[in-house]
Chain length 127, copies 2
DNA sequence: TTATGATATACCTATTTTAGTATATACTGT
DNA sequence: ACAGTATATACTAAAATAGGTATATCATAA
């Protein structure tokens, strides 16, 4: 995986937000849609791009596709996610809000609909 | 300066090489051209882009335009240049080669043509 | 087997980015 | 004022990227 490919990915704020969210744990497409507030087709396309170059993995659970960061997380991505989370800029704050929104969404899901993807809800501290 | 602007810059291998070279010290356009081996117009454009968003500064010395990293170097750029220099990938090796080529070129300039830009040659360890 | 929910893909258009050529500017030395 | 060197800008064509609509796939449940 070339460095420039990774940079192209994270140069897009939506893709960066997706990577940051998945760094917090696996999520399925619809949850990413909800948190980032983008149309389904766009979420799907962005995920495909990142899976293509090997940043993401996915597996199916019923009708859900659960996406996660490919392990081990590429060092370059690691360094940047870590930097951005502790830095102070508008995009960085967004990433923190996203992680919060992620937490709340998962809490809500596990309460309201016990049939959520186990990969998403089971391993979370909230469950 | 937004994170995504910086990422867009370094997502282009040539721009990344320029930033890395300038991290080693100021250079004028013609030297960047020589080391990276790109046409004048392209070097000039890439530099203009990065100056525009505030990553680079420049000053004139005679007919030369001497470019340098804007100080203090943005944390996000710092983190990435540092990471790439110690990492092992084709693009990363390129960056190391470039720094070597930079050193040699400056040695050569200071020997052959003593009328080089002082900002380029004077403060270097090679002079 | 059919209907539904979740996701992916195809296709088209609009926008942005890149690359190249030509030309302009700015400074220096004569 | 003129020629030469270094750099910047204008303009255009080509390529890559993004966005939207429609449609396809795939699994589930009735």
């Amino acid at each position: 995986m070339e460095a420039s490919e990774i940079y192209k990915c994270i140069a897009d704020p939506q893709r960066l937000r997706i990577l940051n969210l998945l760094d917090g744990g696996s999520l399925c497409v619809c949850h990413l849609q909800t948190i980032i507030d983008i149309p389904q087709v766009k979420a799907s396309k962005q995920l495909a791009i990142m899976k293509q170059i090997g940043l993401l993995e996915s597996h199916r659970e019923g009708t859900w596709m659960v996406y996660s960061l490919a392990q081990p997380v590429h060092g370059l991505l690691r360094v940047n996610l870590d930097y951005l989370l502790q830095a102070d800029c508008s995009e960085c704050n967004q990433l923190q809000c996203d992680l919060l929104a992620r937490k709340q969404l998962i809490q809500q899901i596990t309460q309201d609909s016990p049939d959520c993807p186990t990969a998403v809800c089971a391993p979370q501290p909230c469950c």
